[in-house]
């Protein structure tokens, strides 16, 4: 073998490692990316992939308003309890709609703050769990609902949020909230869900004509915008997202009832009110 051939052969052998190094580097990068994305869910420092999209979710007919622009008494179906709920045990950030939509006792030791989208299937699955939790921990847990309609993927989500707020103006926010989740499949893909929402309004016994009028009012939209601004400030990118006493729960803790209950149990016990 000549010196030239030998040199070529040596060069070829050295090159043998190059593809393996490249493949290994991509494998490591892929594993690291998955680890980072899963971890992102577990920490408050998530990096939303489409936050600009969320800001465009806001109803176009509305003008951004301060959190205090929303309705006051009665709209959260819990007069008097709302203001203190939003000032304690929630994550620091933009205030969101004021007063917030709160269900549960004002004196509760545990506050769950949910960012939800009425058209999001996982939110629909979490909804009965949260209702059960509220019943099981009556007096010890309260739930704040924040609107985060992901309009880019859920075409009727913003309108549904406005329907809930419109019902809230007549003091039936939670009734409409429950209706929207319970009948999610019925209206989600409807070309025009308004007649269905009007039917729900009739079922929860509110003034349907006023409801139809309120659904498009800037006042209704302004509360949703305020909630979106809070979601944006907290860098919440997906739904459902739940904070427990201001601490972001992981996706597993949010979606698995046993884990969610374990977190609540621990928080209740920590507050010295465990059973």
């Amino acid at each position: 073998m000549s010196a030239k051939q030998s040199a070529k052969q040596n060069a070829a052998h050295k090159n043998n490692y190059a593809p393996l190094i490249i493949i290994l580097a991509v494998l490591v990068a892929a594993v690291a990316a998955v680890w980072w994305m899963l971890r992102r869910d577990d920490s408050a420092s998530s990096t939303p992939a489409a936050r600009p999209t969320q800001t465009t979710n806001t109803p176009s007919s509305a003008t951004p308003a301060s959190g205090s622009a929303g309705p006051t008494s009665g709209n959260n179906n819990q007069p008097g309890g709302a203001q203190s709920a939003q000032t304690s045990a929630i994550a620091p950030g933009p205030p969101g709609a004021q007063p917030p939509r709160v269900r549960g006792a004002d004196s509760a030791a545990v506050t769950l703050e949910e960012f939800g989208d009425y058209q999001c299937p996982p939110c629909g699955r979490v909804h009965p769990v949260l209702n059960k939790i509220e019943r099981d921990y009556a007096g010890r847990v309260r739930i704040i609902f924040r609107h985060l309609p992901l309009q880019s993927i859920h075409k009727n989500a913003s309108l549904a949020a406005r329907a809930a707020e419109a019902a809230g103006i007549q003091g039936r926010f939670w009734e409409m909230h429950d209706k929207l989740y319970e009948h999610q499949e019925q209206w989600s893909e409807a070309l025009d869900p308004r007649p269905l929402f009007a039917a729900y309004a009739a079922e929860i016994k509110i003034d349907v004509e006023k409801f139809k009028s309120d659904i498009d009012k800037p006042l209704t939209s302004s509360r949703i915008i305020a909630d979106l601004q809070r979601a944006d400030g907290l860098r919440v990118s997906g739904t459902p997202t739940i904070y427990l006493n201001g601490r972001l729960l992981t996706a597993e803790q949010t979606l698995e009832e046993a884990k969610l209950r374990a977190e609540i149990e621990a928080a209740v016990a920590a507050a010295g009110k465990g059973r």
Binding site: K8, A12, N16, L27, T53, C120, P122, L150, P240
Partner: protein, 163 residues
């Protein structure tokens, strides 16, 4: 002769060839590997979102939830179908990279894997169009990537012979 020596000789053979045809074939392999990386990123994102169980941001279409949360999106053992896709794209990337560096044994395997992926893609497109009646933009991107991979692999196979 060890496998490494055999491979080394293969590389030396191709290196000594040095023809434009070989260079073009290697360029196609490199492009195949790069396209597979796009598919890998897409599939990894879907895998993570599937595991998180949350709604994903869907681009241009509105059927992501319906598709990604259907029974077809999960394999036995609760394994996301997207994870299998990620594995397939990584395999294609690896084989294309090896082929670009002269590992001839990788080429028939690369063609076979891409052909299987394309067949799976056709099946998944059928499910979206006729069974679920909803389209997920990430799945459509994956279909486009797999179709591109098939075109590249076929080009490698037939154009290189012609060259």
């Amino acid at each position: 002769m060890s496998a490494r020596e055999s491979v080394g000789e293969g590389i030396a053979d191709e290196a000594s060839d040095g023809s434009n045809a070989t260079r073009r074939a290697r360029l196609r392999d490199a492009i195949t590997a790069a396209v597979a990386l796009v598919g890998l990123a897409d599939a990894l994102y879907l895998t993570v979102e599937h595991l998180s169980g949350r709604s994903v941001i869907c681009i241009a279409t509105t059927g992501c939830d319906k598709v990604l949360q259907s029974d077809y999106a999960t394999l036995p053992g609760d394994l996301p179908l997207a994870a299998l896709g990620a594995l397939a794209y990584f395999t294609v990337f690896s084989l294309a990279t090896l082929s670009a560096f002269g590992y001839r044994a990788a080429r028939p395997l690369l063609t076979t894997v891409v052909a299987l992926m394309f067949a799976s893609t056709l099946w998944l497109l059928y499910l979206q169009a006729f069974v679920l009646k909803a389209f997920c933009s990430y799945c459509l991107l994956s279909a486009a990537v797999t179709t591109t991979l098939l075109a590249l692999v076929l080009a490698r196979r037939f154009l290189t012979r012609r060259d």
